[in-house]
Amino acid sequence: MAAPMLRWWCLGRRWVLACIDGGSRHGRGAAIGFTSSRKRGQTSVAQQPLITSQKSRKGEHEWAAVVGLEIHAQISSNSKLFSGSRVHFAAPPNSLVSFFDASLPGTLPVLNRRCVEAAVMTGLALNCRINKKSLFDRKHYFYADLPAGYQITQQRLPIAVNGSLAYSVCVGKKPSRVITKTVRIKQIQLEQDSGKSLHDELRSQTLIDLNRAGVGLLEVVLEPDMSCGEEAATAVRELQLILQALGTSRANMAEGQLRVDANVSVHHPGEPLGVRTEVKNLNSAKFLAKAIDSEIERQIHELENGREILNETRSFDYKLGCTMPMRDKEGKQDYRFMPEPNLPPLLLYDTESLPPGADPQQVINIDWIRERLPELPSETRERLIQQYGILPEHSFALLNEVGLLEFFQNVIKETRAEPKKVTSWVLNIFLGFLKQQNLAVNESPVTPSALAELLNLLDRKAISSTAAKQVFEELWRSEGKTPSQIVSEKQLELMQDQEALERACHTVMEGHPQVVMITCSTEGGFLGSRGQGPPSWPAQGQRQPEHSARSLSTAPLLSLKAQANKGWPGYIRSP
């Protein structure tokens, strides 16, 4: 039961950090901003709440945590679930409100076909059984941003049930292993979003914006198959990627298109499940795992101190880093569910059951939708591994940033460089620069073509990899220039004239006989001691004024020589 200590606690970027080989991160760490140590530090801090595998302080029992999720994803559609109002984020308040959305008496719901199709697509992608007949219900509660006094949802017979979601966690130190876990999906239901209440504490006013009222939501209920915040966060991340791949939701947590509630309980393995609490409104990827872990920790602490867990609703206070009871959710809610009488049962068909001569505008064919499902993230990763021979963890990293995969594929199209090389550049250098400046992939000043050209230069050994990084920095700073232009402006190309290069080497070596002596006597030779070798050597080389940049290119040459002659002696003999 006890969850393994996971090497990272949250989403995308940490995955990259945990899994990518940091070999090329030398020297310019600060400039590239690939601050692995800082992030690693975060990782270890975040691991502390992971008590699931720890023995309790009193020593007798292990604790196990059980986590289930209810996820609300806003459906990406032109109009709302039951009205013709447009759906648009950040429109002026109350500008997207139909008579129905304002629940004027006598208005009736009319189901949006697109929302039903989105639910079917999502259900199929999550391996659900699609119910050919589903029903709508009213869920009653009074709140100012719920103008009808009830929400239309699918309580009794939802559109999709009994699915599963596979997600992968990365465990162990390098080389890390990717472990695939599965969480069962209880159901997916279609329902209306509420409006927004904006509380003006100063004037003790509540302002209502109904733009969001009636937008279609997919409520995805995940069974309590997870055991810590990280698993929950990873499952949510995978769901987010699936929704985005399907186009059924933009699933942007910051814009409220993906909202998560977690049911959390702890118990001793082998004993019945504990009393659960509901942690509400986990609306940022950052705090999702943290909130769940802190709630697990709180429950264990309470129980170990002889107190009880109350079945209550709590919210996460991100400033305090812990969960607090929600005061306005006190008292038992009875939602007084009732069938929605204004909507007939929602009937779906497959090719077999499709009534002959049915109007295609009036029926939805599940098989038709299934045949047109786009490639899902798990399939994309598998394809990347097969097609380019990259590591599984790299395939995750490529999918984790919006637009990164497309960028990668565009680079691949235009370069002769090895896919592995491209992966390393995209995930280490390129992504590192983006992260440092907090940019999205589509905001990058470096285009895929520019990076492809740079990698071509590197591939045909026109420049060294150190120079390539310098060119990349330059590309980042000065938009519009091509890598070739930068290389020639900065005179970064490798010297191809073997003799001239050798002459230059000799000049250097002859000028520094003592360094040469030390180098030759060091076990492993020059190459093996890079970074720890004679400290004066590279500096000396760089100080040669006429070769300032080019001298860097001697390293590969020297290495060739060294390999050919099994070390330095032959080379020293030659002059």
């Binding site: 304002a102 006598g106 007084r336 009732m338 009488p341």
Partner: protein
């Protein structure tokens, strides 16, 4: 002219015997003379005269929109009318001016009909007059000596009809004769994209054929409708009607609808539950416009100032406390009682025992009808009401629940099953008040039902009320007024 049928008036308009404006003015003046009856909540005089004027222009140009052009109509005050206050006779909606027309209102206006105003009803139509949830079109029709037609559920759009019980509400049609009801049905029926519960098939306006031979018909007489409370007078007209069909060659048989007796109690659970849900939106803040400058969609606030603008509310405690106060103030006792009962039935612990059971009973009631019709019965013939209209003092003796239970005894089950039914006036009682009988048809066989009702109407020759005489002779009105006041003092 006012006593004539729609078709007669339409012909007179086409021939220029009367203009739409003259007709409209005649109506307005009758409304004024009978104001003491409280028939109208809102008389939209200005709008009506303007509509009449436009209709007149069309007639002059020879571009009449059809049979309904220039015809005065009234709409019950639970149908949304754009720009005209729609209150459901409730404090909760006092001052609410809908920004849109109900589909049925729009369809009538598109045909050139002239809207005289909004007619009265129990608060949220809980027990009296135009839409039909449990008999509210047929009962008043029977008492007033006119035709009251409840179409099949799903045949006519409910969009814009402020709901009582969504699954039973149907816009009802009140006219002088069956043919007129058919004309209006032809205009209103059919799919409405704004109401998902309407049938998909298009319905075209139609002329009701005249039935000459009833010998192939089978008329069912449900034995359970012979209630002990049924007045002897009504019972005898019911028998006469059955005999009439039989004498003309129709097959008249006794049938059984064993679950109909549970209809009222079943209705009570389902109705109150839907009412509790439908009324949840009335928080006393949203629909009543405050100052003119204020947007229809304004802030809901815990602040007293804004609370006062929206509604008479001085609560500054919590949203819940504010709702409790505004809702208490906005709804009358009957509505509040139903909301309380409905919420009780919907509680998690009660849902199975009440709501689900009531739904099952509803299915049994509906199945009774299906069985009877499957056995070859074309229409059912029943009384519409237990007795003739009661004098006001008798009427107010009973509380609302008892009254509606009695009123709806013959009409309610039809709504449970979604069937079409029509009340046709038969004769006057000893007191000189009208009595009606009800025909119930198969679902979506509304035309066949009306065809049979039309034949029956022709046989009974019910005496038409002579409004023209009342109009011409001022003394008659005061006679009525005197009568009314006498009955009040009774």
């Amino acid at each position: 002219m006012l006593g004539r049928t729609l078709r007669e008036v339409s012909a007179a308009l086409k021939q220029g015997q009367i203009t739409p404006t003259e007709l409209c003015q005649k109506c307005l003046s009758l409304i004024k003379k009978t104001k003491f009856l409280n028939a109208y909540i809102t008389v939209s005089e200005e709008v009506a005269l303007k509509q009449a004027e436009e209709s007149e222009k069309r007639y002059k140009k020879g571009r009449s929109l059809g049979d309904l052009d220039g015809i005065p109509i009234a709409v019950k005050d639970n149908f949304s009318t754009s720009g005209i206050e729609t209150t459901c006779a409730s404090n909760m909606l006092k001052g609410y001016v809908p920004p849109y027309n109900a589909t049925v209102v729009q369809k009538l206006l598109d045909q050139g009909a002239v809207l005289m105003g909004k007619t009265n009803l129990d608060e949220f139509a809980m027990g009296a007059l135009g839409s039909d949830t449990g008999g509210s079109t047929r009962n008043p029709a029977a008492h007033c000596g006119v035709v009251g037609f409840k179409p099949s559920y799903g045949l006519v759009s409910r969009h814009g009809l402020i709901p009582l019980v969504n699954s039973m509400d149907v816009p009802g049609i009140l006219t002088r004769c069956v043919d007129d009801a058919a004309i209006v049905l032809g205009m209103l029926a059919g799919h409405d994209p704004k109401d998902s519960t309407t049938i998909q098939d298009p319905v075209k306006p139609f002329t009701l054929p005249t039935l000459t031979d009833v010998s192939k018909l089978c008329i069912g007489i449900p034995k359970e409708y012979l209630a002990p409370e049924l007045s002897g007078e009504v019972r005898s007209f019911w028998s006469k009607a059955a005999n009439l069909f039989e004498s003309e060659g129709a097959k008249v048989i006794e049938v059984s609808l064993p679950h109909t007796s549970y209809s009222i109690v079943c209705y009570h659970v389902l109705c109150t539950s839907e009412v509790a849900s439908n009324m949840a939106r009335f928080d006393g803040l949203e629909y009543v416009l405050g100052d003119k400058e204020e947007e229809p969609l304004r802030t809901v606030s815990q602040n007293v100032n804004i609370g006062q603008k929206c509604h008479r509310c001085d609560i500054n405690v919590s949203t819940e406390a504010m709702y409790a106060a505004t809702r208490r103030e906005g709804f009358n006792d009957v509505v509040r009682g139903r909301i309380l009962a409905g919420n009780f039935f919907l509680l998690k612990e009660n849902y199975e025992n009440y709501f689900i059971k009531a739904q099952k009973v509803r299915r049994l009631i509906a199945n009774d009808f299906v069985k009877v019709f499957n056995s070859g019965v074309d229409v059912l013939l029943t009384p519409t009401t237990l007795r003739g209209a009661a004098p006001y003092l008798e009427f107010i003796k009973e509380d609302n629940r008892t009254r509606s239970a009695e009123d709806d005894i013959f009409t309610q089950a039809v709504n449970m099953a979604g069937l079409p039914a029509v009340s046709v006036p038969v004769a006057l009682s000893n007191l000189g008040l009208p009595i009606g009988l009800q025909f119930i048809g198969r679902a979506f066989c509304d035309q066949q039902l009306l065809k049979i009702a039309k034949w029956f109407e022709k046989q009974v020759q019910f005496p038409v009320i002579q409004l023209q005489e009342l109009m011409d002779d001022g003394s008659s009105i005061s006679e009525i007024e005197k009568l009314a006041s006498v009955s009040l003092k009774h």
